[in-house]
Symmetry: C2
Subunit: 489 residues, 2 copies
Amino acid sequence: MPFAPVLASEVSSWHGDTDVVIVGFGGAGACAAIAASDAGARVTIIEAASASGGSTALSSAEIYLGGGTAIQKAVGYDDSIDDVYGYLMDSNGPQADPGKVRAYAEGGAAHLDWLMSLGVPFKPTELKERAMMALTDDCLLYTGSEKAWPYSARYKPAPRGHNLEVEGDNGGPLLTRILLEQVEKRDVDVHYDTRALNLIVDQHGPQQQVVGLTVRQDMEERAFRARKGVVLCAGGFIMNETMVQAYCPQFLDNKTPIGNPNDTGSGIQMGLSVGGRAINMHEGFLSLPFYPPATLTYGIFVNGQGQRFVNEDAYHGRIGSFLVDQTFPVYLVLNVDDYGNYETESWLQAPVAATGETLDELVSELKLPPGQLELTLARYNQDVDAEADSLFHKDAAWLKPIEAPYVALDCTPGAGAFFPCFTLGGLDTTVEGAVHSVAGDNIPGLYAAGRTACGVPRRGDGYASGSSVGDATFSGRVAGNAVANREVV
Amino acid sequence: MPFAPVLASEVSSWHGDTDVVIVGFGGAGACAAIAASDAGARVTIIEAASASGGSTALSSAEIYLGGGTAIQKAVGYDDSIDDVYGYLMDSNGPQADPGKVRAYAEGGAAHLDWLMSLGVPFKPTELKERAMMALTDDCLLYTGSEKAWPYSARYKPAPRGHNLEVEGDNGGPLLTRILLEQVEKRDVDVHYDTRALNLIVDQHGPQQQVVGLTVRQDMEERAFRARKGVVLCAGGFIMNETMVQAYCPQFLDNKTPIGNPNDTGSGIQMGLSVGGRAINMHEGFLSLPFYPPATLTYGIFVNGQGQRFVNEDAYHGRIGSFLVDQTFPVYLVLNVDDYGNYETESWLQAPVAATGETLDELVSELKLPPGQLELTLARYNQDVDAEADSLFHKDAAWLKPIEAPYVALDCTPGAGAFFPCFTLGGLDTTVEGAVHSVAGDNIPGLYAAGRTACGVPRRGDGYASGSSVGDATFSGRVAGNAVANREVV
């Protein structure tokens, strides 16, 4: 039966016998393997694809860390653990996990040191532009809404996105290569083209312990014994339409799932099959990547009521998450001057809904309540003159009058704009990565990390780029260390 | 271990041996018992409280049904199955279950007939006022957002709340008494003051079947064999703070859980313990019960931007659900004239934030961006003059100029207003009530109904009063019939 646990007593022969079996060789799995190996465990990695990297390899691999990392200090940022903790608790809303956020905030500097000790290169420089990712080899950039209201008023902002020292959007491949080299150095047993099937347990029922994993490999079913435990690092479930329909169906229509094809939730399903608890399964990253060009930030988003609904200097994921809850249509209205290199630079793909040499001409082509955009723009321009956005507190640096000639981009879902999404729900784990059972205790021998677990990032409207790769590498390392040190009775 | 399944082979003696064990004697459990008994099964009900009724007894027990019920026809409403289906699919959003909604829409008239055949009294009259519940013995009333935008334009509205023929807010107790009498007539074995503990299975693991239930009764643990199956009708989980924190933490701060004290999610936990799948666990009913007096509907809600955000003629649950996602503060601004009997009639408990003989006086006491409420009111009053709310399409019947003297009620969560809530997530079941396992098949011998299952109502912003009692009685009846007819191999 898919994902149902198998009894060890029914395994006729063991293809492998090791301490730790890791399911998935993405960012989380690689870091779990390195940490478990360094803690003295024998490690086997099971990977469905033909190469390592998972969704980390496809990402920009910015790594969201703060609280005074070596790079933050070298560049001159005095970022405090309390500001990281406060920002992450607040932006992840009521579902934030205080224990995980505390460990992540307090351990941020040490985690970057650890990555650097593995040879991951970061250059002590900052990218100052508002960018979706760094295309230079500069390191630090703002990748969340730290400088945007309401957070800017509550926590001292600092750039926490750590971009690898590599030109272009090539952080993911570089991080993948370095982690692969580190795994290979450690004599970890890696099986590619091998699909994890079922957890193996010593017995069924409430006393069960996880003691291994069955896989499909070379057209055979094979069993691997895991004497200390199994770590599920198999990614999220955005590529599994059945699971998305069941748990977060809002991501089905007019959204683009991002990740690798094996983000099918198999790790989560295996955890559930032995009584694990999945939480936050409705949430995900959902973005409207409307910058670059950064000049689009001078515009305003208006909804079907012709009203603004967000400060446009917030992170693109926050804006995407707010946008989908509006009355449609939603337009981004701006000066033609600020449209800039939209057609060549932008990822947004939102079509032009209207242009206008006059406001009347613009609104005549938009589906908005008569007169409302005029009121909204008048109010906005008045605030620009006063250098204070009295409604949404967009930073003064992004305030500029919106005047003729105008352009409006149609950002309504389904009209063409790009809405990338991935899941943020997963197995509920301890800070150390042990999987909670439904009854609240832990399942002996079972760990999870990365997007298979529900980690630090928990809300689309509070997401920051780099928090998934940051959390995946962090939680993988923590879980790898924990499983290697597990006392098996 | 709490909720963990127990092996039948480990049961030393059986206290009871029956066909169907029903956990919980609220609306769902009672209807499951009646239906199962009428289908020829021997039935045992396990109830933690000292009396029947559960949260149904505490409710107004309006029953949301349409598609041409006997009462709708008698009053003169021509409600179609397609309009019920369309409205429920749309208002329950992307997570709506087409199969369940279809069965509910098509079976609405028959379900009311069934309730009437049990002696549940409905009078062929209509309550015309906008009310939170009927305090008269009239039957039909609008209990959702059928007459409100955006639904009114898409589906022909009809009143679908069926209030029992009883004076005062006494539908719940009357329905409970009638269902109790019907259960007692059927020689069902009822155990009060008995807490369900664990499901009993024939074996652990993927091949397990549910064959009974352990309970705590008279200071002993006892086992009941269920030869056809167990139906979990134990309510939702709003009274379980640990589960609310894990799944829907947004309901913890400044919200009031409503339901009976045994809405602790024990049925859901038991279902999860044998591999059931829980879905929609983040969702719930969340209301701002701001009418009566209905005249408050003439006011406008404004958020921290001084902007309206909803058509105020929508159902109070829709307004509550929208409200909590706004920037705070949130005020209800209205004419002092329409304040009416607020202090004696209202459930809202929102304090007066400000009053004003002039608009200047009013706004001077409110925390809003300077000038914005003035713009919002001017726009609104202009729309009132034109008899069309161009922004939110509030029905013309509720359009009236807002003029001095003014009053503003502070509806910000935490300021004093009443935000009742309960959960809408639960076990994923088939249309017949069988519990889906994580792998997608059904768990033999296990059924769920009412708020232990995830039924027809799935969104706070699309909720209609009476849809939970409607769904509980409907799904209980369906599951009771299904379990009684189960072929046991």
